[in-house]
Amino acid sequence: MNKLMTAAQVVAQLQDGMTVGIGGWAARRKPMALVREILRSPLRDLTVVSYGGPDVGLLAASGKLRKLVYGFVTLDVLPLDTHFRNARQAGAFDVMEIDEGMLQLGLRAAAMGVPFLPTRVGLGTDILKHSPGLRTVRSPYDDGETFVAMPALKLDAALLHVSEADERGNSVIMSPDPFFDELMGRAAASVYISCERLVPTAQVCSRERARYQPFERSVVTGVVEIPLGAHPTAGVPGYGIDVEHLKEYAAATSPELWQSYRARYIDLDSHQAYVEAAGGQARINAIAPPVF
């Protein structure tokens, strides 16, 4: 089955009000080209589930969010995302603010097809107060302990960025940490992956590389080849976090600067035009992997 699509075709599959999971972590391996495609589309009222980075800030600044399910939003090298902060402070979207580990458990519950998973995480904090939909559950065994019942976070769609893939949806993530992309994929009804390189099946997964495969191909709905598709976040191996670009993004908080950022990097005809605007392929490939 050939699952090749364009970024525009992926976004055309999404609908207003959907719950969308965005893979990666902070400023690392975010499917940013797909996010920019959403920014150019009329889509709205999205519930976004994310280990948040500039994906969240861009969607917030563009008024695409109805609700954010998150544990944090950060740009890694810059601790705080100004666009997320401004929108959050204005009360521009609803929030379900949960521990990073609870987010994982919610995705896992959805992947397992169970309504919740029990955890001690969240007890004694304000998480349950601010997300009154969260309930507790009592152990049916002799311990009788009370747990948070972390509800399944079912996703209508997941957007992920991987290193290489074939047209059937086999893929590998070669960066140091696969994060929770596997669970996002398994929690979602439809899964769209962008990849740095489209390669023949025999090259995606050798015996040695198979352990870098996040999930089997039946999880994947669509594949888009977008080299440098994680920029300005890191796409290691290949390129690091574009700190210079993120500073320009974070500084674009006035309406004028934001409009100019949009005109320069978002409202473009093609991904190629974006890469040129961001300094070209050679410049991006020369960005060293981050040192934490």
Binding site: G71, R85, L123, G124, T125, I127, H130, D177, P178, F179
Partner: protein
């Protein structure tokens, strides 16, 4: 830049040594230090009194030896893989001690890094709860606060309780789970803990030149502890050499404070 005279040490160097103490006797656990001084401190503990500590490169690998802060000239020796998924598995098992930097702390040792002000429309949105809820109920945590003031050590409860703590009203039947463990709180003024009666905050030591009155005024809740607390022990010559030559040769620790002043002389060298 620090004053790197061999026998004199600065506030940041004192704080590194005081922070390192949180991992004394911690055993074979993951040492997570958030921020410059906590990271140097974890390295110091690992190189001196706790060789069993594990530490990461801040990304996805466990390192056999601590690395110097800043750009790496030689790739560090990796001893294992620690992606985030494995980090959660580890931390839920309790085999970790984190030294973190809260924005607010209250008398119950509850910490906040999420928002300041009203939750729906906060005066300041910061990071989000991150892993604080899970950390606080799973493994011991300590705190490093470089700006000891009533804005950090607040009078009431913190604006958003991210880390579970010792407020009995927040626990069924007022029973605080045994899993809630606070090590020490190191600030620019002294070292504190929550080991007083009913987990009350108390002074363990004060940094050279700091008075009891000064910390009482800089803290929004009562502090117990002896009337004349001891002075926080400074680095030994050996510790100072490890900090300056091995762990932080670029002197990044100094930027923690507006003025990283010299505050003591290494014992035996005066």
């Amino acid at each position: 830049m620090s004053d790197t005279t061999p026998d004199r040490y600065t506030l940041s160097e004192l704080c590194v040594v005081a922070c390192a103490e949180v991992w004394r006797g911690a055993g074979e656990v993951l040492a997570t230090g958030i921020g410059v001084i906590p990271r140097i401190a974890a390295g110091l503990a690992r190189l001196t009194f706790n060789p069993d500590l594990m530490m990461t490169d801040g990304e996805a690998y466990l390192l056999a030896e601590p690395v110097a802060l800043g750009p790496r000239t030689v790739p560090p020796v990796v001893e294992g893989w620690m992606p985030y998924s494995r980090t959660f598995d580890l931390l839920w098992s309790g085999r970790r001690h984190a030294l973190v930097g809260p924005v607010q702390v209250d008398r119950y040792a509850q910490m906040n890094i999420s928002i300041v002000g009203d939750y729906a429309r906060p005066k300041a949105a910061i990071l989000g709860v991150r892993g604080f809820p899970g950390n606080s109920i799973s493994h011991p945590n300590s705190m490093f606060v470089p700006n000891h003031s009533p804005r950090v050590f607040v009078a009431g409860e913190v604006d958003m309780v991210c880390s579970a703590g010792f407020n009995p009203a927040r626990w069924p039947d007022g029973k605080i789970p045994a899993g809630i463990r606070i090590g020490r709180v190191i600030t620019d003024l002294g070292v504190f803990d929550f080991d007083g009666p009913r987990h009350a905050a108390q002074i363990r030591s004060l940094h050279p030149g700091v008075t009891r009155q000064q910390v009482v005024e800089a803290t929004g809740f009562p502090l117990l502890g002896v009337e004349s607390p001891p002075v926080t022990p400074g680095p030994t010559a050996g510790q100072l050499a490890l900090i300056r030559e091995r762990l932080d040769p670029r002197g990044m620790r100094s930027a923690t404070f507006k003025e990283d002043r010299v505050i003591g002389t290494v014992a035996g060298t005066a």
